[in-house]
Amino acid sequence: MNIIKKFKYYASDINVMVKRNILHAVRNLESLLTTIMLPPFIMLIFVYIFGGVIDVGTANYIDYLFSGIIIISVAFSASIVAVGVNKDVTTGIIDRFRTMNISKSAIFFGHVFASLIRNVISILIIALLAFLIGFDTSATFLDWLLITGMILLFIFSFTWMFVMVSLLAKSPESASGFSMIVVFTSYISSAFVPTDTMPAALRIIAENQPFTHINDTLRALFLGNQVGNSAILAIIWWVVIFIVSFIVTQIIINSRNLR
């Protein structure tokens, strides 16, 4: 009984915080629109400007690029989370929450779920546009389920990683600076071009980082190729990233010494 009540309270707290973040997003329409519109633009630029010269082995560059654009889109939208979380903890509102008898992780679940909603909307826009410019997929219904699950896992734990980093950042500027670094890290992957064209050092990084694993998984599913190890590697990476981020976040927010 007590556990059920606790869980109900927790769910309701998360709900309150999600609503709060949605209101924030709506009142910050400019930054919402830029993060949502940027990835489709990047997609068009790559397809129509670079697409002619990039040889990736598929009939259409968009078929190859699509999964990468999803990754980039998620990476871009993280800057909203970074700034939002950092604002929470560098202004007084966090002190009010911390002196209330509530579970502090609800505050961050609020940011994460709001980010999920934002990302799903922007991925739907990208998908619609991609189909319009000739994206072709051989994914079956089961593949689509897998794709959806993998994307949600990726957004979820990627955003948690950002929550952790933004908690550690001293200012919103440094938090959003870090998000730029991550966006660039996502470029050093198989997102836009095959990794075997890269110099050796970069290639080793590119082939063994979590962005590449999730991207390879999604791409294989879209193209109807063999998924191989990448799916299991992607799941391990992103689940571990979530667990570490969640625990570190909990430690930081509940600590009464780290100020």
Partner: protein, 314 residues
């Protein structure tokens, strides 16, 4: 962990210390705050007021000593303490992107109140925020933000409220309305712990004042007790010549009369009451001192500390 009722202390603090690395901010402070009273912790910039409030409101752990809120130790039972208190921090603890109503509703929902809507409307009315209920807080003046901040602290019927410098940065009008609000809260039995840099604010609001200086409480007592020890005002006598200056120094030696450097003017301590000031003026007339005018000055906190420290040395 016994439940305390009646007139006992709502806040008990014993030998609390806190350092940031090598900086010793609190060097052992102790005091009690009676249930339903207003307690003012007075101190200048950097005295450690916020540090003390942060420890009492479960944001910080002290290095040593103990603090209890309504019988619960702040270190051992933070969640029990949290369900008794609320904090209005020094820097606004409201969500600037939300409206007044949204802010109040959010806190009400986080407290799992069964009747959030009517409580929010009641607070909006009481705090004169109904007209601006649906405007984002970022468009508010400092005074309105403070009002909302305090209104948010009232949700969930806390028994102890912490207010960290509630009137700093407010214009005189908002300051007075904030004072009235605080008095009203105490009148319904809420215990109020506030910090301030202004002696007059502490005097006006508090049942009990403690002055924090150099990590210690240098003086603690009721307003009446404090007034006996520290001058509430200085009366400055603007004089024309050295003879009068000399006379005034003699007559008012019991009031710590001092020459203001570079002038003939004399500074005299007073408790600020009309009988005391008229006594000073009468003595001037009786002794044929030709004073052009006189003015009253509030003592600065620094001069109060000096006075207290000097008294202790004597």
């Amino acid at each position: 962990m016994a439940l305390t009722k009646g007139n006992e202390a709502a806040i008990k603090v014993r030998d609390l210390t806190k350092s940031y690395k090598s900086l010793k901010v609190l060097k052992g402070i102790s005091f009690n705050v009676k249930r339903g009273s207003i307690f003012a912790l007075l101190g200048s910039n950097g005295a450690g007021k916020t540090t003390a409030i942060n420890i009492l409101s479960t944001l910080l752990i002290p290095n040593s000593g103990s603090a209890e809120i309504e019988g619960f130790d702040v270190v051992k039972y933070p969640n029990n303490v949290r369900s008794k208190i609320s904090l209005t921090g020094q820097y606004s603890t409201v969500d600037e992107l939300l409206t007044t109503r949204e802010n109040l509703t959010m806190i009400g929902n986080l407290l799992h109140l069964s009747d959030v809507k009517p409580q929010v409307i009641d607070l909006l009315t009481r705090f004169d925020l109904l007209e601006d209920a649906d405007r984002p807080v970022s468009t508010f003046s400092g005074g309105m933000k403070r009002r909302l901040d305090i209104a948010m602290s009232l949700l969930g019927n806390p028994s102890v409220i912490f207010l960290d410098e509630p009137t700093t940065g407010l214009d005189p009008k908002s300051r007075i309305s904030t004072w009235e609000m605080i008095k009203e809260l105490a009148s319904v039995g809420i215990t109020i712990f506030l910090t301030t840099q202004y002696l007059e604010e502490a005097e006006y609001l508090a049942d009990k004042i403690a002055i924090l200086h150099d990590g210690k409480i240098v003086i603690e007592g009721s307003v009446a007790e404090i007034k006996q020890i520290i001058p509430t005002v200085f009366v400055i006598l603007n004089l024309n010549n050295k003879t009068d200056t000399y006379k005034a120094l003699n007559i008012f030696s019991n009031k710590n009369a001092q020459v203001i450097e570079g002038t003939n003017n004399v500074k005299v301590e007073s408790n600020g009451t009309i009988p005391d000031i008229s006594d000073i003026l009468k003595k001037i007339e009786m002794n044929n001192i030709a004073a052009d005018s006189f003015e009253q000055k509030k003592p600065t906190l620094e001069s109060v500390f000096l006075k207290i420290v000097n008294n202790e040395v004597e």
